[in-house]
Symmetry: D2
Subunit: 337 residues, 4 copies
């Protein structure tokens, strides 16, 4: 960490600041520049709240040399993490293809879609039982009944189940029933929830918040990992920008960025990012060749009558065509489906 | 709601769409434009998921005529809402001045600050017992012990207490101990939490999410109100933009906007918005003359040693000077302190 | 265009508004909704300044049914535009691969890079002679001397030259010397410049502004096309968002969006978007499979000593490897290199 | 400047980097941290292109200790700059109140509005002769005829004239006819134009770009000042964010930020920021108490029939009421009108 001092800083105040920093077991190396003086802080600065230093009148600015995350940082964990779920692995050579409807609506719907996506090459089933909806008047999901239907679809197809947890109250049930616990974008910084997830071993699919930086996404992963659960899969699903033709702006540069900064797997959700089914194919293929470890895609057998997000759901036939292209593209970037 | 049709839409498909819409008890009035045809939907469209219509191949776009919120909408509730908290009112002529430290740290700290801010003119005490922190390694608040200290400070000063709730698990305790329950920006769309808040009567201070539009803020208020709790106070605390000199960008235009769209009170948090104590004075005064119903300001008696956010905390003397200016400005915009 | 009226609009004022609209040769079809009344405007509304209607007290909101651009709109021009440059075509099956250094620095540099990128499969040479730089103290380009060097490199390799025009003063020279005139992101709404470009026939590579919506990009294309020059190639080069790990956020969803909305070709610049050379490969490949009509990529033979943007330049060997992958990916999405 | 090295950087490569830096007359002070090593660069780093260092494989990141602007920096110019325009001063105790229509439309219109705003307390007249419009089909201003009408209005009222320059071709005419040359948001990084403005002495009102950081605004001022023209007045007019209820998001925190970072005056344009006339009053008052050096406000005597931006124009009576409030607020923040 680098502390930039004000040009005419009071010496007594600087001495106090130095004493404060040294009391945290950090060493200081000053550099006198042409116009400004800086203090280089050497030691474990992760325990220091950098912002508090800026409360000091003699401090002009604080600069960070190291990333604030440790367990999620590739610097200390050079090899890719591979997350095991049953006989599937996320983060290895094989792509994770997670497909299914936005929300579970009925036994027929979820089972039929599960069979269809499996036939096309998906290796995980998604489907919401608890739905975060902007409007209190919108369909909120089937809840526990939805979980039961997901279990039936899993039994029928063998596909492990990925579904969203919204409340710590349902955690025990999810540990029992679900294969991967999804944390939605709006809960990425629900720190109480993250702490609870650190206490379990179940793999977590952590979606990037709408306005979360890549660093903040990794800090939320760090919350879970610091608690003891290292089975974290990151998911980019579009960020909020000024552009409103698409629901969000899919940030595919997050793929190489996260591969550089972290060892955790990163998968892409083109359905929520764009909010338009006819954009999904194009961006799903782009994600794969950009180096994503997998995709999470909404597929519905009757989008026109879906209870939620039909506008961004592929029909099974369209998904099948997409998978056929992905099977051709994957080997070129050293991946398998 | 307006449905814009594709220029060469299949007539059979349009007929199906019309039937679907009419099955929701809505009437359709078509208008044939120069290049495009639109369908005007008449009736209660709030129950219709507009996005689903866009799943339809014959639909080019859907436009919204009405706001999706009802209870929070000034259209149906022309007078300002006034929220009563003990003998204080938020949303009337008198400004709500909520002041105190970022986090409760000790009996001496919170009581001393409470006395100081009261003496300067604050009529509410703020202080975090449960702290949402980006880093799992940062101070997370004193928890229940913090609530006890807040109660002592209230006893000593008579100031009602505003503090943040992070988990439904603590709700009962907060109903008992706290005067206004604050919901932080990161939980603005924690819908499970919002639903619980709708079941109680305690006033809620709902902070705008970092990337929430004004409409989404009002939709989150609608969640609480739809559940039965109409005591909602909105709070603008800065939104996330590309500018990173400030922690966030304070959106003061939200004040006239919300006054136009809704009857709910709106208060401003310049401390979190800017993240720099020396900016607070300027923006606090601006908020008052722009028409805010109140302010929430961080005040700490020893910012250099604060356990959290010292860089954005005013010292009691600086707060006192600010209040002295606000007392002069308020009457010019027909407010009292 | 749809005009939403205020619920309690004064009838005399509405009558005046109706008269104003009808005086523009537009017909009005009103629809009385449950809470609000709307006026549907039928006719050529492109001549009407919609915003002005909002000056009217009785108007609640104005909604747009049609896009404000005509000549750039696929609605009126269903087939893809193909822009011819010498014996090359942009917008057809063959990808446009535009490669070269950020700025022209010397005869050796530009010629060597030109030969290298041609050998790897590029069909256009890029290189800045006039450089827009944030700092007045930074290298500003070789100017006319740079144009001469570009011409020599073209003579040597046969590659058509793409370079940025910053001022109308240099237009004549560019028409003579250059094959494609690039308009940089910062000049996308330099309307004086756009008007001049409408008067010529030379193909224009129009880069999307840092904070321009897709609609605004198309409106800037419309400026040029309305003037008479239909040879416009669009370029997505990253937009400004809150994420600052990358220089900008590359918006690949702009590819399917623009393909839907417009008939103009769209190419992608991953170098400026990310600002990091090690991200370029991943996103260049993604752009191709997402459906881009081409790429514009910075290649420098000595990035460590480049006078500009070395951090985002590929070395010729890295570019060659990238092209080798692109040659394999292109046929899968029905493209050739 | 601080260069953070990669943890396992090749020593030969580091030695080359060190040699490169030292060849620029900079000294290096290394600090070995716990996990990473940094190089502190001492000397005039403004001539060094920091980004180029990131082209180097051994470099992890570059951090900036100093701001990249010198002439606009308060560090080297502690006192506020005061810009003289005739017998008016911008940047002193007296507020600059610049008012007038969006565009000059006729002799009657501009003269009548000029008289009205002067009577209410404005000390400058604004009015566009050349208008930057998103649509090529919209009214583009009266051009030179507009300048003539502005001169007549100035003659009649004595108010100095502020109007926008869009092209270097009109510069000579503007120097002769105009008192303050306004550079619009879309031209803030039209570097060719900025360079020309550096060669003259006429005061420049430089508007912040829609997606420009405060630092970039100051860098554009630096362009003009580096050329020799130190008469720069900055203007915040709203930035582009995800919120689209308002045209842009007015960033009032730019006022204290710019006051800290720079000695240049800063004025606020609430009309363009919000795009809604009924928001202007609230935010204009807020700007004054936040410490702005002035306001630029659109006033039109017939907004319903304005040729441009009527929706954001105040009527003269509303402007008069606003000024009456501002006259009361100004003294409380030590300003005069």
């Amino acid at each position: 960490m680098i502390v930039v001092l004000q040009p005419n800083a009071d010496k007594m105040e600087v001495a106090k600041l130095v004493a404060l920093i040294e009391s945290k077991n950090l060493k200081i190396q000053p550099i006198e520049g042409q116009d400004l003086t800086i203090l280089g802080l050497v030691g474990d600065t992760s325990i220091l709240d950098a912002k508090i230093l800026e409360a000091n009148d003699v401090v002009r600015r604080v600069l960070h040399v190291e990333e604030p995350y440790k367990k999620a940082n590739r610097l200390f964990h050079p090899n890719n993490s591979e997350i095991k779920i049953g006989d599937q692995v996320i983060g290895g050579e094989k792509l994770a293809i997670i497909a299914g409807p936005c929300s579970v609506e009925s036994r027929e719907q979820i089972t039929e879609v599960a069979k269809d996506v499996k036939a096309s090459g998906a290796n995980f089933l998604r489907g919401g039982a608890f739905k975060p909806r902007t409007s209190p008047y919108a369909f909120q999901g089937l809840g526990y009944d939805g979980l039961e239907l997901l279990k039936e679809a899993r039994k029928e197809t063998g596909l492990p189940v990925v579904t969203e947890l919204m409340s710590t109250n349902d955690l025990e049930k999810f540990i029992e029933d679900v294969d991967v616990i999804q944390i939605g974008a709006r809960n990425m910084q629900n720190f109480d929830l993250l702490k609870e997830l650190g206490r379990i071993k179940k793999p977590i699919l952590l979606k990037r918040g709408l306005s979360a930086t890549i660093e903040e996404l990794l800090m939320s992963a760090e919350y879970i990992m610091a608690g003891g659960n290292e089975n974290v899969i990151l998911c980019e699903r579009g960020i909020r920008t000024f552009e409103n033709y698409t629901r969000n702006t899919l940030d595919l540069s997050a793929i190489p960025a996260i591969k550089k900064l972290s060892h955790l797997p990163i998968i892409i959700d083109p359905s929520h990012a764009t909010g338009k089914w006819w954009m999904v194919e194009s961006l799903a293929k782009a994600a794969v060749v950009a180096g994503a470890d997998g995709l999470i895609i909404e597929v519905h057998n009757d989008p026109l009558n879906a209870l939620c997000d039909g506008q961004q759901s592929l029909k099974p036939e369209a998904f099948d065509e997409l998978m056929s292209d992905i099977k051709k593209l994957a080997p070129i970037v050293n991946r398998t489906v």
